[in-house]
């Protein structure tokens, strides 16, 4: 069987989850590789969650939230952006590669963009191959 990447996506309740919903109700196709986890805010995504996703065998992690300035909690996504930049360096030094982490802003009306970004990201991870961090038994 050909390799299918496992992707974990962290979605914020107010915008990107709405976008995923929108993509669904509008019947927009996107790869089924993504596993969605809903958060109240992208600012709730502890860097540790991203780490744990990789440790538990994810090949790629997507963090998504409202556009800057549109956060339901005013500045939650500012924190997300800082953590994303920090995590990219970390994953790079660790040897996992910063390409396996992606941050996207999707508003609730951007079902199209969400589907597009998931497709792009899945293709990229498929090209990169399995995460070097994966447990040996999987």
């Amino acid at each position: 069987m050909s390799y299918e990447p496992k992707i974990v996506a962290f979605l914020c309740n107010w915008c990107s989850y709405g976008a995923a919903d929108m993509a669904g109700t509008s019947r927009i196709q996107y790869p089924p590789n993504v596993r969605v986890i809903r958060f109240m805010c992208s600012g709730r995504i502890d860097p540790n969650f991203v780490l744990e996703a990789f440790l538990r065998g994810a090949d790629g992690v997507m963090m998504t939230g409202c556009h800057i300035g549109d956060c339901h909690y005013i500045d939650g996504n500012y924190k997300t952006a800082h953590r994303y930049e920090f995590l990219k360096h970390y994953l790079d030094i660790m040897g996992i590669g910063s390409q396996r982490l992606q941050l996207e802003w999707c508003s609730a009306a951007e079902g199209n963009k969400f589907a597009e970004k998931v497709t792009e990201f899945t293709d990229r991870i498929r090209e990169l191959g399995p995460s070097p961090f994966k447990r040996g038994d999987e």
Binding site: L51, Y78, I93, G97
Partner: protein, 384 residues
């Protein structure tokens, strides 16, 4: 920030002769007793490989204060508690740890007086005893005094003086602790004042003092006006020598970083991950590194302590999280390597992350209370 340099010495003849470099720090400590709730420094124990942390409450304790010991690596920052006004003598990495704790509101800046000591590196005590036996042909308990001067490690017995080049010793895996070799923070400019024997005339029992803050200035002025210490302007030539020593040490540190840390970054990502995996594989999960770490301070909320290092992940989640958190806060004190019972080069791993992060972004831990740690930032990020 103001910065002023002085030569200083103790006014008490006995302290001046007995103390290292003129007993300036001992007498400064004496002048601070009563003005601070705690005045913390190191007490003599009779050997150069050990010292006790002591709260000097009685001025007569001053006699037993120990000068700088190279093979004593106590993390002094642990003795500072919020709400207790503390004056403390510490080495540069401890000072950086205190600054990191201040950033996270565990210590208040105006509650502490940091008396920094210049530090060219510390020695691991057990390995040093072994080295004294093998390389110097001495019994460790014969040694009454040690000194690092002009790149030489010097041990004094009651009768004689034995000297060897540190570079040569380090070729043979003796000498300074690994984390000290590539540490490039030698004069603790984050302290209220930095004291040391760099830039002093030899044999004159004088300490070189650089004052960095208003608080340090007050403490110094007080000690002078109350007659504990004397100060005078240093000669320009020797002040220059001091900054030259600092520069040479930093250059050496960069050389060591190029030898130990940079090659790891030159590995391919897969090989680097394998290196980290292999290095961490002997972990037995004692949490000693977490407990010894001066900047790790989640206290009772600590998530790491609930993670089992034996969790079958490729890298124990405990270490993965610690590597992540310390990437923004590791001060390179090397305590984790010291306490590890299975000799994992933890300081090297943490420094690999934090020094590389520093090279890429310019953010350096423990340098200023006003720097906001990357993971605590909440302002509008650049480029967004």
């Amino acid at each position: 920030m103001m910065s002023d340099c002085y030569w200083g010495w103790s006014n008490r003849q006995d302290i001046r002769e007995r103390g290292e470099s003129g007993g300036f720090v001992s007498s400064l400590i004496e002048s601070l007793v009563g003005k601070y709730d705690r005045v913390i420094t190191i007490q003599k124990t009779g050997t150069v490989f050990e010292g006790n942390v002591v709260d000097v409450s009685d001025p007569s304790d001053v006699k037993s204060i120990q000068g700088a010991l190279h093979s004593l690596c106590i993390s002094m920052s642990a003795y500072i508690k919020k709400g207790i006004r503390t004056a403390i003598v510490l080495k540069p990495c401890d000072a950086r740890a205190v600054i990191e704790n201040m950033k996270r509101n565990h210590v208040k800046r105006d509650e502490v007086l940091l008396i920094g000591l210049n530090c060219g590196g510390t020695l691991p005590s057990v390995d040093t005893m072994k080295m004294i036996d093998i390389e110097f042909d001495l019994q460790p308990d014969e040694v009454v005094k040690e000194e690092i001067s002009k790149g030489n490690l010097i041990f004094f017995t009651k009768e004689e003086k034995f000297s060897k080049s540190i570079d040569e010793l380090e070729e043979q895996e003796y000498g300074r602790r690994e984390s000290c070799r590539y540490c490039d923070f030698k004069i603790p400019s984050v302290c209220d004042m930095a004291c040391g024997n760099w830039g002093t005339p030899s044999g004159k029992n004088i300490t070189f003092i650089e004052v960095f803050s208003e608080q340090g200035r007050d403490a110094l002025d007080n000690a002078v006006s109350e007659g504990f210490v004397s100060i005078k302007e240093p000669s320009e030539k020797l002040a220059e020598i001091r900054s030259k020593i600092d520069k040479t040490m930093k250059k050496l540190a960069r050389k060591w970083k190029g030898k130990v840390i940079d090659p790891l970054m030159e590995l391919s990502p897969e090989n680097r991950l394998d290196y980290i995996k292999d290095a961490l594989s002997p972990c037995i999960g004692c949490y000693a590194c977490r407990k010894a770490c001066p900047v790790c301070n989640c206290s009772s909320d600590c998530k790491c302590m609930q993670m089992d290092p034996d969790d079958n992940f490729p890298i124990p989640q405990y270490h993965a999280v610690r590597l992540l958190h310390l990437m923004e806060s590791c001060v390179g004190c090397g305590n984790c390597t010291d306490v590890c019972p299975v000799d994992i080069p933890l300081a090297r791993l943490h420094q690999l992350f934090s020094r590389t992060y520093e090279d890429r972004t310019g953010y350096r831990s423990g340098m200023s209370v006003d720097d906001i740690p990357p993971l605590s930032r909440g302002d509008l990020p650049e480029g967004y």
